[in-house]
């Protein structure tokens, strides 16, 4: 359970004894997890382990049954999603979740204008907000979507939509970015492309990412936590987690041939 080679940094996101039940069934069964500043942290686990449910708890979509969620030391458990986002945590979704009838630039602009305080601005034209529009261009470049700038998000290829989806979460400039299976449903080349892109755009940021592809986990992340049946059974650097007996039994055994 030791941190990897990096110097011990303070946790940005901390889960303590987090539980969530739907009716009788407990899906998250006492999760403890710490994501440290500047690290890329992977969350792996078999289908139905509760990874998305955990993300829904962290991002405010669900209210925890019990336990604590600390963001930069402050409790965010049970707060509304928009409040949590403004406190500095932004998420992407497992299923593509963009604004299909708006252009790529406009999708990003929604994320960016909110951060600039233009949430309900009524007496200013959006074209006059230079700082916002400059930043939109910057993000389009970062995400390598220049050629798609004015196309409707709904017309993009699936992998481009996934990139946009991530970019929208990133553009709110959170202190923690959480991505739910950013490479789901992609070909090998697309996966390699988006992983490289994620590495690029999250440089120096704190990332928690759900990922099924083990090679992605091993190349992208500093830390790995394994969630099985609503419980974290191991946390550590990729190599030690791979070597962990419990993990091999519970999860990796079926994946690694």
């Amino acid at each position: 359970m030791n941190a990897s080679g990096m110097t011990a940094a303070e946790p940005v996101l901390e889960l303590k004894g987090l539980r969530k039940s739907f009716g009788e069934t407990q899906i998250i069964r006492g999760v403890d997890l710490a994501v440290k500043r500047g690290q890329r942290h992977a969350l792996i686990g078999p289908n139905g382990a509760g990874k998305s449910t955990l993300f829904n708890l962290i991002s405010g979509h669900y209210v925890p049954t019990s336990g604590e969620i600390l963001l930069n030391g402050e409790s965010i458990a049970g707060l509304a999603p928009h409040i949590i986002n403004r406190r500095g945590l932004s998420r992407s979704f497992q299923i593509t979740n963009v604004f299909p009838r708006m252009s790529v630039a406009e999708n990003l602009r929604i994320s960016i204008m909110g951060r600039h305080g233009h949430r309900f601005t009524l007496f200013q034209a959006i074209s006059a907000l230079k700082a916002v529009n400059d930043e939109v261009d910057e993000y389009i470049r970062k995400l390598r979507l220049e050629r798609r700038r004015n196309d409707l998000a709904g017309d993009l290829a699936y992998s481009e939509q996934r990139i946009l989806e991530m970019g929208m979460s990133l553009a709110t400039e959170p202190s923690v970015l959480i991505l739910d299976e950013p490479t789901a449903g992609m070909s090998r080349e697309e996966t390699a492309y988006i992983v490289e892109l994620i590495r690029e755009v999250t440089e120096g940021r704190t990332l928690l990412v759900v990922e099924h592809d083990m090679s992605v986990v091993f190349t992208l992340c500093d830390q790995v936590s394994v969630l099985v049946y609503g419980e974290v059974i191991a946390t550590g650097d990729p190599a030690s987690v791979r070597a962990n007996k419990k993990v091999q039994e519970a999860y990796l055994g079926e994946e690694v041939h």
Binding site: A80, S90, F99, G114, F120, T121, L129, M168, S169
Partner: protein
């Protein structure tokens, strides 16, 4: 470039509207006033529906409240309780519409989709039910009436002064609503329409945003109601009826909620249609329904959508090829319409009490009925043959016209460099077309 073209069109439309009173007589001028008010109502409704995806089934509430607010202002002036310039009376409708939009919207926007629609409907019905009991505010069954006060050099007696007052308000409100679409909140409305759930996770309080957008829609709806009150100098609680709420929905869909000015066009056209046909036939609501169904089936983007597609896709100079097929399609349509109208009106006449009495008097035998100034015998082959012939001719022409129209459309929208490739609506194609012309 696209902006300036729409802008030019708006200026031209405004210029035409400004000169209309020179040509229109009393009755038509009054119709024009009502058309403009309906257009404003539809634009205001679309601000919530088309842009933010909030399909309100209860917008008559804010329309009616705006009207009553205006009437109370005018009545206060009439009774010399206070002074208020008549041209600014619609401000009263705006304020009341906005405040009730905030209040009712706060509840309705807790839900989305169908549930939102149901709450708006329920709130409007609530108003419709309690309005007659609050006779101090809404008058009794006959409502309240007053007169327009004079202001400066205007007496606001003649219709054309009312016309220009209405035009000014409709033009300013349309411009403001267009400007709204260019503000951050206006852009946020589009995002809410597309995917409210996602907006929440980007740091926006979507409930607050939707309440605010709904209230802005109600503000302009209140102005439309106030303009109606100024034009009619009276109203009663039936203005809150569900039919009025449904009407603006129909008009907006016929006009096309996907375009900015489509709903205004739809509302103006359908208001005119209602005014003309309701004098001629009792079946006019049936015809209105038929129009709605046909538009939804064959041009789901509405009139505005049709215009927009043509403006975007048809190459310059390729219009001529479309005229012939469209004329043929129009002819086929007219034949079918004639058949339908003849059938509906015949049935209508035959079912009237007067006709039934006449057959009884004739000993239960069919007697000829009068329609379109001619006499038709129910048992004559002519009476049956006429609609059948109309339907047959229209039905035969329609597939031909359809095929020709499709071919002409393909021809007119084909790209010069890639003629023969199937017309795809993808944006790269659109872009290369723009570059080629």
């Amino acid at each position: 470039m696209k902006f300036s073209r729409s802008f030019m069109l708006a200026i031209v439309a405004l210029a035409i509207l400004a000169t209309l009173p020179l040509f229109l007589s009393g009755n038509l001028l009054n119709a024009a006033i009502k058309m403009m008010i309906a257009a404003l109502f539809a634009l205001a409704f679309t601000l919530a529906m088309g842009q933010a995806g909030m399909l309100s089934f209860g917008h008559a509430a804010y329309y009616g409240l705006g009207a009553f607010a205006a009437l109370h202002l005018m009545k206060g002036v009439e009774q010399q309780l206070f002074w208020f310039p008549t041209p600014l009376v619609p401000l009263g409708g705006a304020v009341v519409g906005f405040l009730f939009g905030l209040l009712f919207g706060w509840f309705a926007t807790q839900r989305s989709g169908v549930y939102f629609s149901m709450v708006t409907l329920a709130l409007a019905e609530l108003l419709f039910t309690i309005a007659p009991t609050l006779s101090g505010v809404f008058g009794d069954e006959s409502g309240i009436s007053t007169i327009r006060g004079a202001w400066w050099v205007f007496s606001f007696g003649p219709d054309n002064q009312v016309y220009y007052l209405t035009l000014a308000w409709v033009a300013i409100c349309s411009l403001l609503m267009w400007c709204f679409t260019q503000t951050p909140l206006g852009r946020l409305a589009l995002a809410l329409r597309d995917n409210e759930h996602r907006v929440r996770f980007l740091g926006f309080n979507t409930h607050l945003a939707r309440t605010l957008i709904f209230a802005i829609s109600c503000l302009f709806t209140g102005v439309a109601g106030a303009l109606l009150a100024i034009a009619n100098e009276a109203t009663n609680y039936t203005i809150f009826a569900a039919g009025a709420s449904a009407n603006v929905v129909l008009q907006t869909f016929i006009g096309g909620a996907g375009t900015f000015f489509g709903p205004a066009l739809g509302a103006a056209v359908m208001t005119f249609f209602a005014r003309v046909t309701s004098d001629l036939t009792r079946s006019w609501l049936l015809y209105q329904g038929v129009i709605f169904v046909l538009v939804m089936l064959f041009a789901p983007g509405g009139l505005g959508g049709l215009v927009a597609t043509h403006a975007q896709k048809v190459r310059a100079g390729a219009w001529r090829g479309l005229i012939g097929p469209y004329a043929l399609a129009l002819l086929a349509g007219l034949l079918l319409v004639a058949g339908l109208v003849f059938t509906v009106e015949s049935i209508h006449v035959v079912l009237t009490d007067a006709y039934l009495a006449a057959t009884r008097a004739a000993g239960g035998k069919w007697v000829p009925f009068k329609l379109f100034g001619t006499s038709f015998a129910p048992d004559s082959p002519v009476t049956w043959g006429l609609p059948i012939a109309l339907f047959a001719a229209g039905g035969l022409l329609l597939p031909i016209a359809r095929r020709m129209t499709l071919a002409a459309w393909r021809e007119a929208t084909a790209l010069p460099d890639v003629v023969g490739s199937t017309a795809s609506p993808s944006s790269p194609a659109r872009k290369s077309q723009g570059a080629a012309t």
